[in-house]
């Protein structure tokens, strides 16, 4: 190659010496082509010449070359300006090249003839610049001329320099003479020059020459440095990198839409020992291999992979295996970049692939360990094969092949970290399994090994534990979005983490359990049964044991056993699961492992023991929401309801019937757990569970009744169940069981009544079945708080019926309840106070409360913080205040102030309840007006409550305002606070309760100043008239009174009359309500009087 180019150089060229660094670069295949011409070393070596072997070498248009050319141009300008003497030095031979410059471009310094341009500057008569227009060959002899030329060239600077250099491969030789040509080997030119200088006079220019040479050398060094810098930045390719790239791309290639390429192939299958596929004679140019690439969206690409980069080549030569090696486009640093540039589809699909890749990469630890895993795996396979082989040959031989010690140690180590890492790695292991599947699908790995390997992996992951935690967090964040019960799962995850941290010291049970689980995994039915039995000997209620079973992978095996045909194994497994599923973490794991689905299936089994065990286990697991949902979604509810079907009450039971009852009990237990979800309640009802539950409720057995009543109690939050409990005559049995021995059963019954007694008929049923007595009895049992809460709750709800209150009066429940006002938990207090509030409607009981000094504790409770409690307390205090004697006690305890301050609470229930309670207080207090005025800002507060959105609050405040307005001074104050305006704005309500109280308030407020007129002006009259069309007689009365008050203003009378009030009032006058009659009559009288006065005035 080199020689070929040589032949084309006119002046014979010698090889220049290689500086060592350049040499090294060259050896690494860094340089495209080495042409033995130069403006010093740099040009030869660094400038990138094309591969074109024939004719004049061309400088490629690469960034590197451009920067080199720029440097040279700068140098030329620099020399001519700073070193005029040297610049004037005439070249030994002019630099000669084919220029593109126009003759016209040359200015005054040039003599322009038709054919030629000659510089005016001459040396010995020879012009320093000659441009022959016909051939457009230019000859330049000095640097100054060169500089001028470049000035003329302007934008063409670069091109001219390029052309110049291309034509003069060794400019120095021309400038300074052949003796300075760059020579391969020792460079003696410097010495020669020095000698010349020493010789002195003979050659006067020698000094200038010397200087110029030095300058050139300087330039050379500079060029070399910059190019070196540039080159070293570039990543060079090597055969291995290309091979990897191609392999990778091949794996992602194919016909599919999502592949990055259609195909990518080498031109040659033969690979040389150095990894290149290019023919040796091309390897010297750095070619590594040639590729034929079919992309999705471009024509076939013929690509050369060179050490310098990847570029398109000329493609195949027709009818020949060879290709055109010349570069045909830009160079890219690697194959991927190249393809990204050429094919948009590639770029697109690649990002997709990369995204997947990034996802995988997140589990970096797993990827790493997996690589490390492979030898272990193979080793294992080998040993296995080995042992098989031995077994075949020697049946009698019992000694297995020697066990590799390392594995043993590893196993033990793995167990240590096993626990700590268990849950955090479960996710990553899953990933890994998936990857394994993808990568070596052919390899069938036995489960046993798999588990062991998983353990080993866990061990190896230890270093990456932190990362795995991170992943877990990431994944859990994601999963929380999916799962509805985020808070629940979060809590549990935290639990698990805590467990991990504490689980550094493993008890001996752990190892024993591990051993047993091992036999469980690797044994036949017999061994499995023995292992299952022995597992029951561990204390399965102990959390350590429970978690140990989980941590050694026992849950998976136990669940798997449920899927077999072996009844004994299923029974054994379920017995264990039933126990350990009492642990919340185990529950979750079991649900995650799909245990519920299998258990639901077992409910169909003909074996009753199995059904019982499965139902009981489901009862344990279904304590959290997702599990309950799983049970429902897999048809568990219907099956569980199906279990309930049995004959619960008969004197003589056969063994089979007893078993049926046991099955039903277990089914009820499971339903009880499941019934905590609303949808499950519906499902139970739809599956026909209610009649069956009602039937079982007749059972005499406590252990049966508890889950049944528990389920009913849980479901009683649904109106449909409450109805069913009433209509299916379950109240009777509930009442009966209030007198049961078991406190738990009593509690559930009381709770069921508590929930059902919202319904009036049910309340009456409780009474007619003599349930109130037992309830009162339960209330006196003050040690069991849950029972107490349930019983007092039942009393509260039952006391809503006055008939029941009557009964309670005889049972003297109030006294008992008052004793419970002190020192009880809030849940009890709420119900106790609620009950007292209902009971205090009876005057006798009000008196009883006072006599047993219950008012003090009640008023004290007004300072509490629990909203539900406050609502009940205010109500109770309000009821008590109806009694004037009670009121004086309340007043002395400053109860009214406490009530009033409750109006400030943001909760509308409390506001309303407090305002209601204030009504009797104001009514019955001595010097109520004075008292009310003494609350600073109190009146403003209550008037402002009229801005509330809550109807109940508005109604109660209106009622309170009516009471407040009884006192004239206070009425004046509230009028100042704009009560009239606010009441008027509320008149458009359609709620009868609010209408009644609002009309009351209006009636009371009319009595001050010109409030009557104000009401008329604010448009309250017309809506009030329409209240008379309401159906409620209370509204009628209050409205009639308000209208009567308003009718004292003539304008109001006109408005009323316009709204047709007379007819409405006349209709109402035949009411039996005297107050209503009086008010209506008064109102009509006022209107009539106005009309008469009007007529009188007219006819006068």
């Amino acid at each position: 190659m080199a020689s070929g180019l040589h032949g084309n150089r006119t002046p014979p060229r010698a090889f220049i010496p290689r500086s060592s660094c350049v040499q090294r670069l060259a050896e690494r295949g860094l340089f495209r082509l080495q042409l033995p011409i130069t403006m010093g070393v740099a040009l030869t070596r660094a400038a990138q010449w094309t591969a074109a072997g024939i004719g004049v070498g061309k400088l490629e248009f690469t960034p590197l070359n451009i920067s080199l050319l720029n440097s040279i141009i700068k140098f030329v300008e620099y020399v001519s300006s700073k070193h005029p003497q040297e610049a004037a030095l005439v070249f030994r031979e002019p630099l000669e090249w084919k220029s593109n410059l126009e003759i016209s471009g040359f200015g005054a310094d040039y003599q322009i003839s038709k054919r030629t341009v000659v510089s005016k500057e001459t040396v010995d008569g020879n012009p320093l610049l000659i441009l022959d227009d016909s051939t457009s060959i230019i000859k330049v002899s000095t640097f100054s001329q060169l500089a001028k030329l470049l000035e003329i060239a302007q934008k063409e600077k670069l091109k001219e320099t390029q052309a110049c250099l291309e034509a003069n491969r060794d400019p120095i030789a021309k400038i300074l003479g052949p003796s300075f040509a760059t020579v391969e080997g020792e460079d003696k030119s410097m010495l020669r020059l020095l000698e010349k200088v020493k010789k002195g006079d003979e050659e006067p220019e020698a000094e200038a020459q010397m200087k110029l040479f030095l300058l050139l050398q300087q330039l050379d060094m500079q060029l070399l440095n910059t190019s070196l810098q540039k080159i070293s930045q570039e990543v060079r390719l090597n055969p291995q990198a290309i091979k990897n790239d191609v392999q990778l791309l091949q794996s992602f290639s194919g016909e599919g839409d999502l592949t990055v390429l259609r195909s990518i192939n080498y031109t040659s299958e033969y690979e040389f020992s150095n990894g290149c596929r290019a023919p040796p004679w091309r390897q010297v140019y750095g070619d590594i291999c040639y590729l034929i690439i079919n992309t999705h969206d471009t024509e076939t690409l013929y690509v050369t992979c060179n050490t310098a980069g990847v570029y398109l080549n000329g493609g195949p030569i027709k009818d020949s295996e060879d290709i055109i090696y010349d570069r045909n486009g830009d160079i890219y640093k690697d194959l991927i970049t190249f393809l990204k540039e050429k094919s948009p589809t590639f770029a697109e699909n690649l990002t997709l692939v990369q995204q997947n890749f990034v996802l995988q990469k997140k589990s970096t630890p797993t990827r790493k360990t997996q690589k490390a895993e492979v030898p272990t795996n193979e080793e294992l396979d080998q040993t296995e094969k080995f042992s098989e082989y031995q077994d075949k040959n020697k049946f009698e031989r019992k000694k297995p092949p020697p066990k590799p010690k390392t594995r043993d140690i590893k196993k033990e180590e793995t167990s240590f970290v096993h626990k700590a890492l268990e849950s955090s790695h479960r996710l990553s292991i899953k990933d890994e399994k998936a990857q394994l599947k993808v990568q070596d699908t052919k390899k069938i790995i036995k489960e046993k090994e798999n588990v062991e390997m998983a353990a080993a992996r866990k061990y190896k992951c230890k270093a990456a534990q932190e990362k795995a935690h991170l992943i877990q967090r990431v994944v859990s964040d994601g999963s929380e979005e999916l799962s509805e019960s985020s808070t629940e799962s979060e809590e549990d995850k935290q639990d698990m983490n805590r467990q991990q941290e504490s689980g550094t010291d493993l008890p001996s049970e752990y190892w024993q359990i591990q051993k047993v689980v091992k036999y469980l995994k690797g044994g036949n039915q017999t061994a499995t049964v023995i292992a299952l039995c022995s597992m029951r000997d561990f204390n399965l209620t102990n959390e350590t044991c429970q978690l140990a079973i989980r941590d050694v992978g026992g849950l998976e095996v136990l669940i798997n056993l449920l899927d077999t045909e072996e009844t004994k194994c299923k029974v054994g497994s379920l017995r264990i699961l039933k126990e350990i599923s009492k642990n919340p973490q185990i529950r979750r794991s079991l649900a995650e492992l799909g245990g519920l689905q299998i258990m639901v299936k077992i409910l169909d089994s003909s074996n009753k023991d199995l059904k019982c065990l499965a139902a009981e286990t489901i009862a344990n697991i279904a304590k959290f929401r997702r599990a309950r949902q799983t049970v429902r979604l897999h048809g568990g509810i219907q099956r569980l309801v199906g279990l309930l079907d049995c004959v619960p009450t008969s004197a003589h039971l056969t063994a089979e019937q007893e078993k049926d009852i046991e099955v039903a009990r277990c089914g009820a237990l499971a339903l009880w757990s499941c019934s905590k979800s609303k949808k499950n309640k519906d499902a139970i009802r739809k599956a026909g569970g209610i009649p069956l539950l009602a039937c079982l409720l007749k059972s005499p057995y406590e252990n049966m009744l508890i889950p049944v009543v528990g389920t009913l109690q849980e479901c009683a939050s649904e109106p449909s169940y409450r109805l069913a409990i009433r209509t299916e005559n379950m109240v009777k049995n509930l009442v009966r069981n209030l007198s049961s021995e078991s406190e738990e059963l009593q509690m559930h019954c009381a709770r069921a009544i508590f929930k059902c007694a919202e319904d009036e008929e049910t309340r009456n049923l409780v009474r007619t079945h003599f349930g109130l007595g037992p309830l009162v009895k339960l209330v006196s049992k003050s040690d069991n708080k849950q029972l107490l809460a349930a019983a007092t709750g039942a009393v509260w709800k039952c006391a809503i019926s006055m008939e029941n209150v009557e009964r309670f009066k005889h049972l003297k429940v109030a006294e008992t309840l008052i004793s419970l006002l002190i020192g009880q938990p809030e849940e009890v207090l709420i119900n106790v106070v609620g009950a007292l509030g209902q009971l205090a409607r009876d005057p006798v009981i009000r008196g009883a409360i006072r006599r047993s000094s219950g008012i003090g504790p009640l008023v004290n409770l007004l300072t509490g913080t629990n909203n539900a409690l406050l609502v009940n307390v205010t109500k109770a205090v309000g009821e008590c205040a109806v009694d004037p004697e009670n009121m004086s006690i309340i007043e002395s305890l400053d109860g009214v102030r406490l009530l009033w301050s409750l109006l400030k609470k943001p909760n509308p229930d409390i506001q309303a309840s407090a305002a209601w309670a204030l009504c009797p207080c104001i009514e019955n207090a001595k010097e109520a007006g004075e008292m009310v005025r003494s609350f600073v800002g109190g009146l403003e507060l209550i008037v402002n409550l009229l801005k509330s959105d809550d109807i109940e609050v508005l109604a109660s405040v209106c009622a309170a305002l009516a009471k407040i307005a009884m006192d004239e001074e206070n009425l004046a104050v509230i009028t100042d606070h704009g009560v009239v305006q606010m009441l008027s704005s509320l008149t458009y309500t359609r709620d009868d309760m609010l209408r009644q109280n609002l009309a009351d308030a209006v009636a009371c407020c009319c009595k001050w100043g010109n409030n009557r007129v104000a009401f008329g002006e604010t448009g309250a009259v017309a809506p009030l008239v329409h209240y008379l069309k309401s159906k409620s007689p209370r509204v009628h009365r209050a409205t009639a009174q308000a209208l009567y008050q308003l009718s004292f203003d003539p304008n109001n009378c006109i408005t009323m009359h316009e709204n047709g009030v007379v007819k409405l009032l006349l209709n109402l006058m035949d009411s039996t309500d005297e107050a209503l009659q009086e008010a209506a009559a008064g109102c009509i009288a006022n209107i009539r009087r106005l009309a008469l006065a009007n007529e009188k005035a007219r006819y006068k």
Binding site: P400, Y519, I530, E556
Partner: protein
């Protein structure tokens, strides 16, 4: 998410079934040939005691008498059922025509019945079951032994079953299940792990676990009392060392087939 059945379990258990249908056919073929020989030899034993009478050669009266006797004896089957079972027995014996003169089911045939009808697959255990059935140790299960045995394995009380199983497990009949016997029975119950130094280590360990569970009097062997107590505590231990009773499904299938089919005629 639902776990797939672990592959080891499926593969192991099918493997442990050992005998496939083909092999059964082979065995029967062999037996047929052997049986022929035996038949020739025992041709003169036709007039043995009643319980040994060749079923098909009995007179109708004798047959009825035998049924009555057996019915009284077992109490668990009614007369019709006994007759049915007798018929089944006759059919089984008669399956091999050369053996008509034989006194009952020999070991191989009996084991075949256990295998195909009751799904008992462990050769060692079925062998032991044969021994327990064969009360008079004459290497044949005769009519009476057949009915009595079936009455236990099909309808026996727990106590009877405990006794039966104990006898099966007590390989040498010395009244104790020793460590060695347990080892022998559990020998093939675990997958051999190539990595284990001692392949029997697991089995030994299993024996210890079983012993710990059942040896209440700490004499390093399981007496009948021990066994009974252990089973009463945990029913699963009834067939602790190998299944020797038909599972409920196959028992039901057998009864149904035997009693229903015969009802028709």
């Amino acid at each position: 998410m639902r776990t797939q059945p672990l592959p080891w379990r499926v593969s192991y258990w099918t493997a442990s079934l050992g005998v496939t249908k083909e092999t059964v056919a082979l065995v029967t073929e062999e037996q047929r040939r052997e049986g022929g020989g035996v038949g020739d030899q025992s041709g003169g034993r036709t007039g043995a005691t009643m319980s040994r009478i060749r079923p098909l050669d009995m007179s109708r009266k004798q047959y009825q008498q035998l049924a009555d006797t057996l019915c009284k004896l077992t109490k668990r089957f009614n007369r019709h059922e006994v007759q049915c079972l007798m018929k089944v027995f006759s059919t089984l014996v008669a399956t091999f025509p050369e053996q008509r003169i034989a006194v009952g089911l020999d070991r191989n045939k009996f084991r075949n019945v256990l295998h195909t009808t009751f799904g008992l697959t462990d050769d060692m255990i079925t062998d032991r079951v044969f021994r327990v059935f064969d009360r008079d140790n004459d290497s044949f299960v005769n009519m009476r032994e057949w009915i009595e045995g079936l009455s236990i394995i099909l309808r026996g009380t727990l106590d009877e079953k405990i006794k039966f199983c104990f006898e099966v497990f007590d390989l040498n009949g010395d009244g104790f299940i020793s460590r060695e016997e347990m080892f022998h029975m559990l020998k093939s119950s675990l997958i051999k792990q190539p990595t284990e130094e001692d392949p029997d280590e697991g089995v030994k360990d299993l024996v210890e676990i079983a012993l710990k569970k059942m040896d209440y009097d700490h004499d390093n062997k399981v007496s009948y009392a021990d066994f009974e107590k252990a089973v009463k505590v945990d029913n699963l231990l009834l067939e602790a060392f190998g299944s020797c009773l038909p599972d409920s499904k196959s028992a039901l299938a057998f009864e149904e087939q035997a009693f229903k089919k015969n009802k028709d005629d």
